[in-house]
Structures are given as structure tokens and as C-alpha cells.
Amino acid sequence: MVEILKVENVTKRFGGIVALRQVSLTVEEGSVTSLIGPNGAGKTTLFNIINGYIKPNEGKIYFRKEDITKLPPQAICKRGIGRTFQENRVFANMTVLENVMTGALLHTSDVSEAESRALESLKIVGLHDKKNCIVKNLTILERKMVELARALSTRPALLLLDEIAAGLTGAEIAWLLELLKRINSKLNITLFIVEHVLKFVMRISDKVIVLDHGVKIAEGSPEEVASNSKVIEAYIGGEDIARS
Amino acid sequence: MKTDLKILNTIFSFLVVIMDGFLMQILLRGILVGGIYALLSVGLTLIFGVLEIPHFAYGDIMMLAMYTCFWLQVFTGTPLFLSIIIIFPLYLALGCVLQKTIVGRIMDKPVLSKMLFMMGFSLFLQGLALFLWTADTRFVKSELENMYIDVGGGKISLTYVVNFIIAMIVFSGFYIWLQKTYMGKAIRASAQNKELALVSGINIQKIFLISFGIATAMSAIGAVLFAPIYYVGPFVGIELTIKSFMIVVLGGLGSIEGALLGGLIIGVVEALSSYILSSEVKELSAFIIFLLVLLFRPKGLLGKEVRE
């Protein structure tokens, strides 16, 4: 399999705290890869480094063999990495359509063309009939879908999803699961997911990577990781992976 | 030859002594004014830290305090120090009333709305002062006006010294109050982390009220102490707001110690530059330092966090 993303020996310090220590991993093209770990493990920090918001103290990030470590976030987006955020960063005062259009405008200067592309993305996530609603009035799931559609409109090859399942009901999560599977297979978009909802992770992932206190402690298929003693130890007091 | 050298030597050392004397006098005056500045601006750092409001009308309330002191002096001949005793409770109350009626209404709005709202309030107060008392500059007289102390080569008006001492006493009192009393600790807790404070059972509305009130009162005293070495006019407000903001940013938003440090620094910088250059250049150098601090160390020298 072809590597689309390679994280090589990344270390990140914040003052005296080491958030990430010599973390290395790869994400295969076309796969769904998940990054899990207890709170404070450094998952979002790693995403922020891949995305370009933070620079690592040591190490490199390679996207399609290109070193993107030092690039700013907008340049990384242009190269094909999209992102959704834990805090759900939608443009709250714009309509759904306007939100997604700003994403589509990456590849065109024509506003009407951006509009039609945006409508396509909205159809995929199922928000087409809410296209003129102001985003701040929507439900959590709908806002997440706006963010997802906006990221999709930038035509990414790799999509970084930061805790997209958080705060959703069981039914919503099941629905999201199917949607993401479709996005992965039909649109050929590699998914790199940070998640806490382990049921979700186990059902969708081809590969699971586990971080604890900034260090990679396990990697493998969902079954392998679930039965890994180190992983279970790290999660003592948290969810029971073996049962999910 | 030797006598020439000796003469040169004596002249040189004499010059050094005189220069030192002048320098000393300037530095001292800068520090004295700086101490008053610290009291002037400490309220702003509290308001920023606790209420998170860019209080653009801060200086205008100080302007009102200066006018209050002036009219007290004109109509009742109240000496400066007595007027402080009147002004403190008056402005404490005024601050609380303002917070309850006006400032409290915008607490939930985005930062920029708060800023523009307070700018509106500032304009309003300026207009009010202009309308009520015209644009004429007034002067507050200090009882110690004609008394000097000798420092090095020059004289410093006793007003500076005494007002500095009073300012430092009030400042320390405020500092101790914040450290030792329940209310003070509650205020400091709220400045650090509002959610946590709420959860600990602190009545946050009361904190906002008292913080704003105390901050207003502090700034009012500072303004009264500053009045005799400055002037009173409807537009001093903006100057004082900008100066306070500079000091607070320099020292670090939310840091009480920072207000002291910032005040002293600005006081000394102003004193030094006004000796060498005109008053416009003095202002210019203060602004340039301000810009440099904003750009390279927005946290300030002792600041705790940058709020955006």
C-alpha cells in the first residue's frame, strides 16, 4: 500500500511538558486510520502539527513524500489535507451554503461554480435542503456536517477528523459511520480519525494507532489493539475496549 | 601640562556630579510620577482581568474624579487629601452603579462590541464634561505647591513626594486587600478562571460589581493625586485611558505587580524624554515603546496570559 502521510520522530514540547515524544506513524492511502488514546495523550497536538498550526521541535511530516513540516495551514490545505475541528469551527453567522462555498472557492474563482460544487458536497452529507439556514441555528450533528461538507469541498486527498463523533447519539453515530465509509470508498478520500468513542473506531478503522502521554504504545488492526495489554492498561478507568 | 590635566579633571568630575544630580532629579521625579501612574492604572488591569472588558471610558471616569476634586476645592476649599476621603466612597458607589446599569448589559457580547460600547460611553462622558464645564483647562492646587525638597542638583516639589507616598500606601492597601480578604481572593480566583470560581460557589455577579467599583475608586484616587501635577479638562480622559492601557499592557494584563512596574517604567521614560526633548517627543517615545511591547511581548513583562 502507498503511504499518503508519514509522521517521522515528531517531538513537541510546551514549556516543560513533553506533549509528543518521538512519535512515528504512517497512514496508507485509501485507508481509514484511527488515532486513539486517553485524554492528554497528544492526539489533537499531533493533528495540529500535521495541519501546520504548530511546528514540532523535532521530526518531520511527509505528505505524499513531500516534506510539509514547515508549511502554513493554508498551504497544507492546498496540497490536499482537509480538517475538521474538535470545537466545530463553522462560520456560525453564515448560511450552510455560504460555509461550504468558502471551501469550494479554493479551486475556483467563480462564485456560481463554487455554489454548484458546494451543493454537491451538501448532498453527500445530506444537508441540501437546509442550505439557506444560518448555521448557528442548527443541531450539533448538522453543524458537524457543515464542517465536513466544507472540508470536502476543498477536495482533499486526506481528511483529518478530530473527534467528529463526540456528543452524538448512538443512532447518529451509526449514520455517521456509514457516511464516512461512503466518503472513504466512493470518493477515495483517506480518513485519519482522532476519536474517543471506541465503538466507532473499532467498526470503521483499517488500522488503529494508540498514543499515551505523547508516546505511541500500540499499532495494528482494531482486534490486535483491543487485546493489547498496554492499551488496556492505559485506559484503566475508561472504556472497556474488549467489549466493544 | 600637569595643571591643564588637573583642571580638565576637576571640570570633568564637576560636570559628572552636576549631570548626575540632574539625572538623579529626573529619575526621581519619574519614579514618583510612576508610582502615581501605578495607582491610576491598577484598576484597569483588574477590570480587564475580571470582567474582560476593554474599558475605554476608564480615563473619562478619572476625568470626572478630577473635576469633582476641582469643584470641591473651589466651592468648599477642601484640601486635596481630605477630598480623597470623600472621593473614595463616592466613586466606589459610582463604579458599582455604572456596572449594574450600564456596563453589566454588555457582559455577554463579543469583545469588539464591548470595546465599541465603552468607546461610545467615553465619547458621551467627554461631551458631558464639555457641555457642563466648557473646554477651559482648570488646575487643581496642591497645598504643598510651594514646598520643595533638594535632590542632587535640583528641587522637587513636595507635592510629587507626598502624592507618591499616598499613592503607594493606597496601592499597597489594595494589594493586601486582594491577597488577604475573602472578597479579594474571590476576585483573584475569578480573574484566573471564571468557570472554576462559579463552581466554587462564588457569586460572580457580585464579584463583577465589587471589582468594577473598587477599580473605579482606585483610579479616582489616582486621578486626584495626579491632578495637581497635570491639568483638568474634558479631554484628559482619552490621554489617561491610553496611558493606563499602555502601562497595563507593558506590565502584563491582569497583573497587579505589572501595573506597578509598568507605571514606574512609563514614569521614568517620560521624565527622561521630557528633559531632553519636547512634550510631543515625550509622547511619541511612549507610543513607540508601547507599539514595540505590543508587537514583541504582548503578554507584557509580568503578564499571565494573553487574552484576544
Binding site: 502554513p72 495551514p73 493554508q74 490545505c77 480538517r83 475541528f85 469551527r89 462560520f91 456560525a92 453567522n93 453564515m94 455560504e98 462555498m101 468558502t102 472557492l105 479554493l106 474563482s109 467563480d110 462564485v111 463554487a114 464542517e147 466544507r150 472540508a151 476543498t154 | 476593554p54 454588555i106 457580547k109 469583545v111 469588539l112 462590541s113 470595546m115 465599541l116 460600547f117 468607546m119 461610545g120 460611553f121 467615553s122 465619547l123 458621551f124 467627554q126 461631551g127 458631558l128 464639555l130 457641555f131 457642563l132 491610553i242 492601557f245 499592557v249 510631543e280 517627543v281 509622547e283 511619541l284 507610543f287 513607540i288 508601547f290 507599539l291 505590543l294 508587537l295 504582548p298 484576544e308
Partner: protein
């Protein structure tokens, strides 16, 4: 049916345009002409602030820098080097544009209140420099553009009518720029940066570039307004040129009318400027009242109508049509 509405819409615009053209010939009062000129001038600077403050959400309190540079460049080049004022206009625009990139690049590292204060400080610095360097700028006394008889080249006219058309033309330009941008990709990017810079970056927007672009356009418009001001009033000094008044009124007019909309600043200007000017002229004895009015208005708007008057106006117009 649709065709008829479109034609009716266009007809409205044509009527307004004709009215504007005919106005100065029909109305003889110099006061009304003066008010109109002021309105057009303020429309230019409020649309300018609208771009950076309304659309991109960066509250600049230092736009006076560019206003002053535009005014002084034209005036000083003319008086000291006999450079034609129109060339001075262009040079002023170039200076302002370059300055805006420099100032923007430096100040946009800051956000919110810090950014606002930094721009304010920059304006104050300019004001002080212009006061101090009397040798170049004639200091606090200011610069006077003498009237040397009617001449288009000298931008000098005895009648107000040419100034009316000059300011009208540029105000139309200002509104048009904002209108055009609002419908374009850049307009969407402006709003995205205002909403959430981090999210904007994640979808490929170079937020610094966008902010500087808006700032530069803002600067150019302010520079033009400065030129128009000095050629009409025939006087400029550092307090007026770089003062907080100019910086603040741009923001106030935009917010009053509706920040981030095309017609908001126009509406705000039409409502407030005649009011303020009448106050200034007729109620000099009640000086201070216009400040109080400014201030109270700003407070009320923020509190009750943060979207500006334009929303109410739109609903009113809809109601009229139904």
C-alpha cells in the same frame, strides 16, 4: 413578470442617479450642497472602514493615518514642489497603499483590542511626527491651500458644484468597490476570516493576505478622501488629519448603518452626518452635545441594534412593497 420587476428595479436606480446629477443645479442653498459633499466624503471613509472592520472584522482605530497621508501628500507636494494636485492624489494613494502593507503586516499579528490599540498608537505616532517636524509639515499650524482662481488642474473652484460632482464620483466608486467585492470570492474570504481565522486557514485561505488586502483598499479609499478633504476645505493640520475623530467616525457610521453590508455605511452616513453638522453649526453654544450624541448613539446601537439600522430599513422596505 420577472422582466417588469427587473426594469422597475433598474428604473429606481436611474431615477436616483438622475436626481443626484440634477440636485446641485436645482438646489441653490450652499449649506445643502456642503452637506451633500460631506455626506459623499464620509461615505468614502465609512465604506473604507466597512471593508476592514465590517467585512474582515478587524477593528482599526487608525485609518486616519491614510486619510492624513492622502491629504498631506497632495498638499505638500503642491505647495513645496509645485506638483500638480492630481498627481499628488495618485502619489498619496501609492504611499498609503505601501504604508498599509507595512502597518498591516506588523499589526495583524495582534487581534481584537490589541490590534485596535496598535492602530490607534500608529495614528498617534503619525500625528506627533507631523507636529514635531515643522520644517516639512508646518507643524500644528497646518497647511493652507490657497485659492488661486478657478482651475480644474489646481482642483480649485469658487462654486461648490464641481466639488459636489468630484466627491459624488468617488463615493460611487467606493460603494461600487464594496459591492463588487461582496459578490466575489474575496468577499466570501473576508467574511470567513472575520468568523474564524483558524477555520479559514484550514480551507486554504491565506488570512494575513486577506487582511492586508482589505486594509490596503481601506487605506486607498481613506487616502482619496483625504485628498478630497484638503482640496475642498483648503486646510489640513495634524489634529484633523490623523486624529481619533476621523478614525472613530468611520467606524461609528458603518456600525450605525450596518457593518458588513454594502449599503449600511451609506445609510449610517445619510442619517448621522447632517445631524452632526447641523449640531456643529447651529448649536455651538451647546458644544459637547454632539459628542454626547455620538457616544449615546454608539452605545444604543451596540446594545439594541448591533446589526445596524439597515436590517430595520430592509424590513420596512419589504413591508412597503407588500
Amino acid at each position: 413578470m420577472i422582466d417588469k420587476n427587473v426594469i422597475m428595479g433598474k428604473l429606481n436606480w436611474i431615477l436616483i442617479f438622475v436626481a443626484l446629477i440634477v440636485f446641485p443645479f436645482v438646489v441653490q442653498s450652499p449649506l445643502l450642497l456642503h452637506l451633500a459633499i460631506l455626506i459623499f466624503l464620509y461615505i468614502i471613509i465609512s465604506e473604507a472602514w466597512n471593508l476592514i472592520g465590517g467585512y474582515v472584522g478587524q477593528v482599526s482605530l487608525g485609518n486616519a493615518v491614510f486619510f492624513g497621508v492622502g491629504a498631506y501628500t497632495a498638499a505638500l507636494l503642491y505647495l513645496k514642489l509645485n506638483v500638480n494636485l492630481w498627481i499628488g492624489l495618485v502619489v498619496g494613494i501609492v504611499f498609503s497603499a505601501i504604508l498599509s502593507v507595512i502597518i498591516g503586516y506588523i499589526c495583524f499579528r495582534l487581534h481584537g483590542v490589541f490590534f485596535a490599540f496598535a492602530t490607534l498608537a500608529v495614528a498617534e505616532v503619525f500625528k506627533l511626527i507631523f507636529i514635531i517636524r515643522k520644517d516639512i509639515t508646518q507643524g500644528p499650524m497646518g497647511v493652507v491651500l490657497p485659492y488661486r482662481g478657478d482651475s480644474i488642474l489646481d482642483v480649485s473652484f469658487a462654486s461648490k458644484v464641481p466639488y459636489y460632482f468630484l466627491t459624488l464620483a468617488f463615493s460611487i466608486l467606493a460603494v461600487f468597490i464594496v459591492y463588487y467585492l461582496s459578490k466575489s470570492k474575496i468577499g466570501y474570504y473576508f467574511l470567513a476570516v472575520k468568523e474564524d481565522e483558524i477555520a479559514a486557514q484550514s480551507i486554504g485561505i491565506n488570512t494575513v493576505l486577506i487582511k492586508i488586502l482589505a486594509f490596503m483598499l481601506s487605506a486607498i479609499l481613506n487616502s482619496i478622501a483625504g485628498f478630497l478633504y484638503v482640496t475642498y476645505i483648503r486646510y489640513i493640520d495634524p489634529y484633523v488629519a490623523f486624529g481619533l475623530d476621523i478614525s472613530l467616525i468611520q467606524a461609528l457610521l458603518t456600525i450605525l448603518g450596518g457593518a458588513g453590508t454594502v449599503w449600511g455605511p451609506v445609510l449610517g452616513t445619510i442619517i448621522l452626518i447632517p445631524l452632526l453638522e447641523m449640531f456643529r453649526i447651529y448649536f455651538v453654544m451647546f458644544s459637547g452635545l454632539n459628542y454626547m450624541l455620538h457616544g449615546a448613539l454608539l452605545m444604543v446601537i451596540i446594545l439594541l441594534m448591533p446589526q445596524g439600522v439597515i436590517n430595520i430599513t430592509r424590513r420596512f422596505i419589504k413591508w412597503l412593497k407588500s
